[in-house]
Symmetry: C2
Subunit: 295 residues, 2 copies
């Protein structure tokens, strides 16, 4: 199948999918065109999903790869407290997988796009010897209200959503990782006025160290308070990547509920002064051993 026909096929799939009002021009021109609303900031992120790195053709179906590729990027919008607007998808696939793979990849991706009301606005398509997806997502927040990593202060409580270590455990068992982006949660946290947030893609120890570095504080975790996923170990919960839960901090005056939209929230520690970027657990500094995409 030629590129032009494949693009037409994707365009037909996108027409049946969710389409928001901000998008003026979608797939088929040199660029997508969008009309920003007054009084909003826009947030942008892009995330790779690479064969044999983030998934394999043995563990994930084409639709699951599409779904996961979008979910990884949507999770970054959740971390900003943003509402999804549109995505761009760059996809490269081997010749032998052909048009059927592309169609099924987009079926999976567009199903998730519908669930979270994000419009597929464009992208790129190429042939390559492995499957590569790079998904750029755009989200919106009221002006000045994006949840940053740099807002945590000494004395703020540290929280995580859901359970930790499940993805590391699934990965070890050869099961596919299919993250659920915490978008409703992120928006609720923003409205609640939490002070800092990020998503857990590389493991709590590494990601929390990054949040601490940006906020110029250190963190004190309590091991017994970590919500360890069933069958996972404490080490998987601390250092395992790909959980895509939200990590956030809030001033003590903020009343953080124990769950939002059926997703549990656990308080796991408190921010301290001292060495910026260091994470302590039960009083001992821990080495960040999270999943480093480059190590």
């Amino acid at each position: 199948m030629r590129e032009t026909e494949l693009v037409e096929q994707i365009r037909r799939q996108a027409k049946r999918a969710y389409r928001g009002k901000s998008l003026v021009v979608g797939i088929g021109d040199d660029c997508a065109v969008m009309k920003p609303r007054a009084g909003e900031d826009l947030v942008f992120t892009c995330d790779f999903a690479l064969e044999d790195r983030h998934f394999t053709l043995a563990t994930h179906t084409p639709a699951e790869i599409g779904r996961m590729a979008l979910a990884r990027s949507l999770s970054d919008l959740a971390a900003m407290g943003a509402e999804p607007v549109f995505c761009l998808v760059s996809l490269a696939v081997p010749a032998k997988l052909g048009g059927r793979f592309v169609k099924n990849f987009y079926e999976g991706l567009l199903q998730m796009a519908k669930r979270y009301k994000i419009t597929l606005a464009g992208g790129d398509l190429a042939r390559f010897d492995k499957v590569i997806a790079d998904v750029t997502c755009c989200g919106r927040v009221p002006r000045g209200k994006a949840l940053l990593r740099s807002g945590a202060k000494v004395g703020h409580r540290i929280y995580v959503t859901g359970k930790l270590g499940a993805a590391a455990h699934a990965l070890a068992a050869g099961r596919p990782i299919l993250p659920t982006p915490r978008l409703e949660m992120g928006i609720s946290l923003r409205k609640m006025g939490v002070s800092a947030a990020m998503d857990l893609s590389d493991g709590l120890s590494l990601d929390l160290a990054r949040l601490c570095a940006e906020s110029k504080v250190s963190a004190e975790l309590v091991a017994s308070q970590l919500p360890v996923a069933r069958q996972a170990t404490l080490l998987e919960a601390l250092h395992g990547g790909e959980d895509y839960e939200l990590l956030f901090t809030a001033a003590p005056r903020i009343k953080v509920p124990s769950a939002i939209a059926s997703v549990a929230i656990h308080e796991i520690g408190v921010m301290r002064g001292g060495a910026a970027g260091v994470v302590f657990i039960d009083g001992h500094p821990i080495q960040s051993k999270g999943f480093d995409h480059f190590a």
Copy 2:
């Protein structure tokens, strides 16, 4: 080198580079944050630059790969008549190339970013067995003024900038292709009120057929009027990809100059009715033989 250190290195490089006022938060958070201006539309595009597909490590230096990866994406902004705002860069590199490759790639990319006043706002970094870059660019245009592919009408004249076939000729000779995005040209054409535009990435015959299909017209080219690059053949000018010149149409009442900012403009034909999407040359329909990224 670990991912965290590499990201810090890129962040330092980006701090010395161009930074526009619209960017509120750059590299280092889950998302980049930008503040749109009132009365503008935003345009978005993403383009792959893949090893052994769009470049090889033998023909391009790391800096040239960075420069080319950004240029390919900027060319799409030029085609919309847009002013560059920011870019996101997803980069995967093999372990053996290491931090030095990443640094030099960004040196090349940021040099070009400075030239065209575009801010590096974020991205993703991964390890992979080949070099993969995917560059997302955002540009701005006054509301409703983006140059689309769909605006050409019967009787409108067809134009191209620069010369055609040079890239195909360079590729055949094993020389690197280093496109110059026609950004000043694109902005001038938008202000002039041309009716349709796109960039020539896949060859005139294929790209013009696409523009015709979007505008629901056919095109009549005059072979003797095609600006064939020195040493290139007519076939390379017609079907060769990667030239990154602009193809545009304008109503007869528009006075199109013979050059803008030292880049020549050539009138090469006229739009006709009849079979939408068909390109004729000297009266004969031609098969689109342009570079199909998926064939």
